[in-house]
Symmetry: C2
Subunit: 293 residues, 2 copies
Amino acid sequence: MSLQTDKLDSDKTRIDQALLAGLPDCDARPQRLHRAMHHSVCAGGKRIRPLLLLACSELYTAIANPLHAAVAIEYLHTYTLIHDDLPAVDNSDLRRGRATCHMAFDEATAILAGDALLTQAFKILSHEYSGQPELACALIRDLATAGDSMRLIGGQMTDIESEGQILAAETLNFIHRNKTAALLTASITMGLEFWQPSRQQRKLAQELGQEIGMAFQIIDDILDSTADTQQMGKPAGLDSSANKFTYVSLYGVDEARKRADAHSQNALEAAHAIGGSNELLLEIVKKISKRSY
Amino acid sequence: MSLQTDKLDSDKTRIDQALLAGLPDCDARPQRLHRAMHHSVCAGGKRIRPLLLLACSELYTAIANPLHAAVAIEYLHTYTLIHDDLPAVDNSDLRRGRATCHMAFDEATAILAGDALLTQAFKILSHEYSGQPELACALIRDLATAGDSMRLIGGQMTDIESEGQILAAETLNFIHRNKTAALLTASITMGLEFWQPSRQQRKLAQELGQEIGMAFQIIDDILDSTADTQQMGKPAGLDSSANKFTYVSLYGVDEARKRADAHSQNALEAAHAIGGSNELLLEIVKKISKRSY
């Protein structure tokens, strides 16, 4: 257990260093744009996606250094946060206690910094793995497919369109299967590209990603609702602070907990079934499912 | 001459059809997002970048169908237009006489539609050329490098930062070398990836792209200033309608014309030097340099 925690800590350090190394310097022209990119990339965060990718790449013998792919997926994730925070979208001033990109700089800079991080993700994959073009192409395909208008961006669009509405389970599932689970799934499938997964292992990776994604989102909703109840004595229901309908709104806290546990259990089983040296992967799945709630 | 014009017309029709075919249907979920993508992609335009790419791919025998790459570069170009038009950036209500994306839909949808077209560009390249991963990887590298924070986006950022200022030639050149010429250069280098260019031909492609880019931009500035002078009797200088410093502000109309001619001449020479079946490429360069001014 402690061995795995140490490994996660050292992986996170490697990821943070590589995230910095993968960006143009802060004083590269134009400085303001590069400072904005650094601001958002270095704003902390759990680095779940790159950690998952590294853990999955290490299940069997990796044919190349997966760190660049880990960097690419975190850049893509960071661009989604910058654009989601914009005044025209979620209008958030703070993220993890720091000013969001458009607050620290301005809207135009934040729009362009997000665009640049999305572009940088694909640039890094095409440059760093150019010696193994089949690998590069597979990684780019996985990432671009997860991030497209029918998955990640489609989930975000539907989330925006649904604000203030009572949603059917099907719509809520569509949002989070795409907005949250698609990129977590890409973290896993991109890790698998570093060895030769069987068709069955690819299928399990999809399952694992979806189950982790649902567990992750439901737990997020429970944590938000608990905070709300404590701070505002607000009953479960439409989360009026964000005006968003959540899994707690849909199921109530107790049933949501049960469902999160079931998704975590399914995720563990899928991770087991993929096989290989999976201690680290199992540890990450357990950590996601055990965030205090 | 007429043969080349016919070929350009038929290429443009093929491009327009492929641009439509490369998008998810308008009724794909979420519909509003896909309708916004269609709105901007199908808003017309000269399709200079995809036409250049096709013409360059046909200089020698192409190893694959270049049409998907032509589509990818136009999607990337379209995303830059959508984001440039946003209220926080250039705040344009109209483009080519039609409502811009955020006017026809809303800001959040326009931000996401731009993100989705940028992503779709890389998705198409990684999917359509997966059977030739070396080609796919080279095309993605060319496109992502041209579109990054030091080139296309860097040029746009510097353009925004320079609004209302008198600029040195060096700054104006930095803006347009990156904002305009980088993607035109990528159109050419991506075309070349479809055969095996020599090192010298790659160098000439860079030169051709920069020269076309400068000719294109200076002519744009002259056309704008001529319109201004006719409509408002405004002398050359700071273009107050856009509050932007242009090549006409820097050089005056006569000197700007001379410089545009020189860049066009250099472009023609570079195109000649690349060799191959270059009739169509020469025709495009001539068309760019002969826009009425």
